[in-house]
């Protein structure tokens, strides 16, 4: 029942081993050692390691295959192509949290900022202590981090790639005497095109699309894009494969795709992995599947300077302000295109025009907050829906973060600052350092905060105790045979830094475990 015709669309750039909906002309049945659902940070890394280890790997990815030459600065077109639901997915709560997920071969790594940090030692210690995970402390993880960093080429930026917005951020931190460090990013001489969130048009960013995916293909993995997995099949307590459908151009289901495999891996990300397991009837005895969702809630503010900044010339987030890391706050400069910036302000009409006339003088800065509350993901009408309540403690932390970040940007010479609190165009604006006190003194109702996130984690958490965790320390689902989770769902707690490298290191470690135990998975 297999119908595969290779050449069609984009044959010039599509590598061998990648199949798209144009290749699947009928219902398809495949056999493999391992089927991996999702080709992002977790899925692609695992695929490459297992394929190199000699296993026959099939990867199924709901998103399309795009190549470096498809990526442009046309922000909204890229968002429509590369993000799930046009980037407009919302966790229900007070305030609602807008979250974004990549949906393409390479997953969210295609649209991420490339920040590449190891899991902090204190977090790994906590996982060892509280989740009972062996072999997870810094010294155990060291070889896996090193291996990932080699593969995705983690480096500091070349100086000429750093733009003025980032230099101003650093200047502000230096003026305050705050700790500021150059960011580590997965890039090969990134020249600072400032397009990371819309796909890297130079190929410098070593997203999974240009690193682990080609490596996996080179070692014989097969990757089917445009295939949405509906459920995992089972025989009693054993996972036996997956069933899904080709995604047609209009998003509807096309031909059926079935994969039979000895090991089934869900690497769909922290929103879709718990939903897939739940849809497939793999509830966890711990009751924790879909729970424990952390988000690293994030708010941004806009500082306007007198001088030209042209924040779109130069890499974003060249530096991270680490002064408040122990309090769970990181700051960075993150330029965004005018369309997205306009969309996130409360200005309109002539007032919007006047504000945007200063676009070239703006520094957009944001913060990452290590959160203390958790939410959950549930299947509603067969689709995952996230629920998350920002805690009062974290709301206050975000408010304090805005005050600190504002102080710092005024120290760098900002003339006015727009806050991410929807208090109307003027009430949400600071005219100088004296106004900063206002943020501390005025209550900021949570519901007025514009909170976004790109770091969803923790919904199928690892832990040695099957009554408290969904998977063991390698992502193997407790009480199920041959079912693994390999993505951001695995984190027992938020990690307070950008998560990609942690996911990739855990995937490498999981691959090592599978390859070291061939009899268990054959």
């Amino acid at each position: 029942m297999v119908a595969v015709a290779r050449p069609a669309l984009r044959q010039d750039v599509r590598p061998d081993g990648v199949y798209t909906r144009d290749d699947l002309h009928g219902d398809t049945v495949l056999d493999a050692d391992v089927v991996i659902v999702g080709s992002g940070a977790g899925g692609a890394t695992l695929a490459a390691e297992l394929a190199e280890g000699g296993l026959d790997v099939v990867v199924l990815e709901e998103g399309r295959y795009w190549s470096t030459r498809d990526f442009t600065a046309e922000a909204s077109q890229m968002i429509r192509q590369l993000y799930r639901d046009g980037g407009a997915t919302m966790a229900i709560g007070n305030p609602p949290v807008l979250y974004q997920e990549g949906k393409a071969v390479g997953g969210s790594t295609v649209v991420n900022g490339g920040m590449s940090w190891r899991t902090p030692e204190k977090i790994l210690d906590r996982w060892w202590r509280e989740a009972g995970l062996d072999g997870i402390r810094a010294k155990d993880m060291e070889p896996y981090f090193e291996r990932v960093e080699r593969r995705i080429h983690v480096r500091h930026q070349d100086p000429e790639s750093v733009g003025k917005d980032n230099l101003l951020l650093k200047q502000g931190a230096d003026a305050k005497g705050w700790k500021v460090i150059p960011n580590l990013r997965n890039q090969v001489h990134c020249p600072g095109s400032n397009n990371c969130a819309f796909g890297c048009p130079t190929g410098a960013k070593q997203s999974a699309l240009v690193s682990y995916v080609p490596r996996a293909l080179h070692f014989g993995a097969r990757l089917y894009s445009d295939v949405r997995v509906a459920r995992i099949t089972r025989d009693g307590k054993r996972a036996t494969g997956v069933v899904g459908h080709v995604v047609r151009a209009d998003g509807s289901n096309g031909h059926r795709v079935t994969v039979r495999a000895k090991l089934v891996v869900s690497a769909c990300g922290a929103i879709h992995s718990p939903a897939l397991l739940d849809r497939s009837g793999f509830g966890s005895p711990s009751g924790m599947l879909g729970k424990n969702l952390s988000l690293h809630p994030n708010v941004k503010l806009v500082a306007i300077f007198d001088e030209d900044v042209r924040g779109w010339e130069g890499v974003h987030q060249a530096f991270q302000v680490r002064e408040f890391k122990d309090e769970g706050l990181l700051f960075a400069a993150v330029n965004i295109p005018p369309s997205i910036l306009a969309m996130t302000t409360s200005h309109r009409g002539a007032e919007l025009g006047a504000l945007m006339a200063d676009y070239d003088k703006m520094v957009v800065a944001g913060m990452l907050c290590e959160d203390t509350n958790t939410g959950r993901v549930r299947n509603v009408g067969g689709k995952p829906q996230a629920f998350y309540q920002l805690s009062d403690f974290d709301a206050d932390k975000l408010k304090q973060g805005c005050a600190l970040l504002s102080e710092m940007l005024f120290a760098a010479g900002a003339k006015r600052i727009l806050l991410p609190f929807a208090l109307g165009p003027h009430a949400g604006e600071l005219k100088g350092p004296d106004d900063v006190r206002r943020i501390f003194s005025e209550p900021v109702p949570k519901q007025t905060m514009e909170v976004v996130t790109v770091h969803m984690m923790g919904t199928a958490a690892m832990g040695s105790d099957r009554t408290r965790a969904v998977t063991d320390g390698f992502g193997l689902v407790h009480d199920v045979d041959r079912l693994m989770v390999c993505d951001a769902s695995l984190f027992p707690t938020p990690i307070g830094v950008n998560p990609m490298e942690t996911i990739q290191a855990l995937a490498t470690r999981a691959a090592h475990h599978v390859l070291s135990n061939p009899r268990r998975f054959s």
């Binding site: 190199e52 026959d56 909204s76 639901d85 090969v188 001489h189 969309m343």
Partner: protein, 175 residues
């Protein structure tokens, strides 16, 4: 991506909202239709339930003007500029979160669409494509050896410790 297209009624309502939300330059630059088209493209990728709710909300917004005394029995898309503005404000500060969320969503989609227009970007001096081309070229000129070296390393064997190296698999194709 669905093949969503605005109905004439939705298009009319959105067109009437362009001067309320977008800077006056939208009219000067003659980009009103392009803005409304762009909103359609964005709506095409939104979750289906969200899209249906938004379309319904727009209709309600239009009809709701009938109950807005200053409108004197006119629908929103027929209001003169000053009244259209006041009517939109009445939703932005409306009695329920649904009023407010719809007004915000209308604003967001139109603002996004406005500043995605090349003419509006040109006004801001925002020319990212030229910048990308410039730095892309320079990267290749200066660093091509390093770039090649890394690309090559991606396909070199590097087995995990204790795992025997395997020859490249020849399994290909779906059959």
């Amino acid at each position: 991506m669905s093949d969503y297209q605005h109905s004439p009624a939705t298009r009319r309502i959105l067109t009437s909202l362009v001067p309320v939300i977008c800077p006056p330059e939208a009219a000067e630059l003659g980009i009103t239709d392009a803005i409304v088209d762009h909103v359609g493209l964005t709506m095409g990728v939104l979750p289906a339930a969200f899209r249906a709710g938004f379309v319904l909300g727009l209709r309600t917004y239009d009809l709701g003007a009938l109950a807005f005394p200053p409108a004197r029995g006119r629908r929103a898309h027929r209001l003169p500029p000053e009244l259209a503005d006041r009517y939109y404000e009445s939703w932005l500060h409306g009695p329920t979160p649904i009023h407010r969320q719809l007004a915000i969503a209308i604003g967001q989609l139109l603002k996004l669409a406005h500043y995605e227009q090349p003419a509006a970007q040109e006004r801001l001096g925002y020319r990212p494509a030229a910048w990308i081309e410039q730095v892309k070229r320079r990267r290749l000129e200066v660093y091509s050896a390093d770039i090649q070296r890394h690309a090559q390393s991606l396909i070199e064997p590097d087995p995990l410790p204790g795992i025997a190296p395997h020859a490249r698999s020849s399994k290909k194709g779906a059959a």
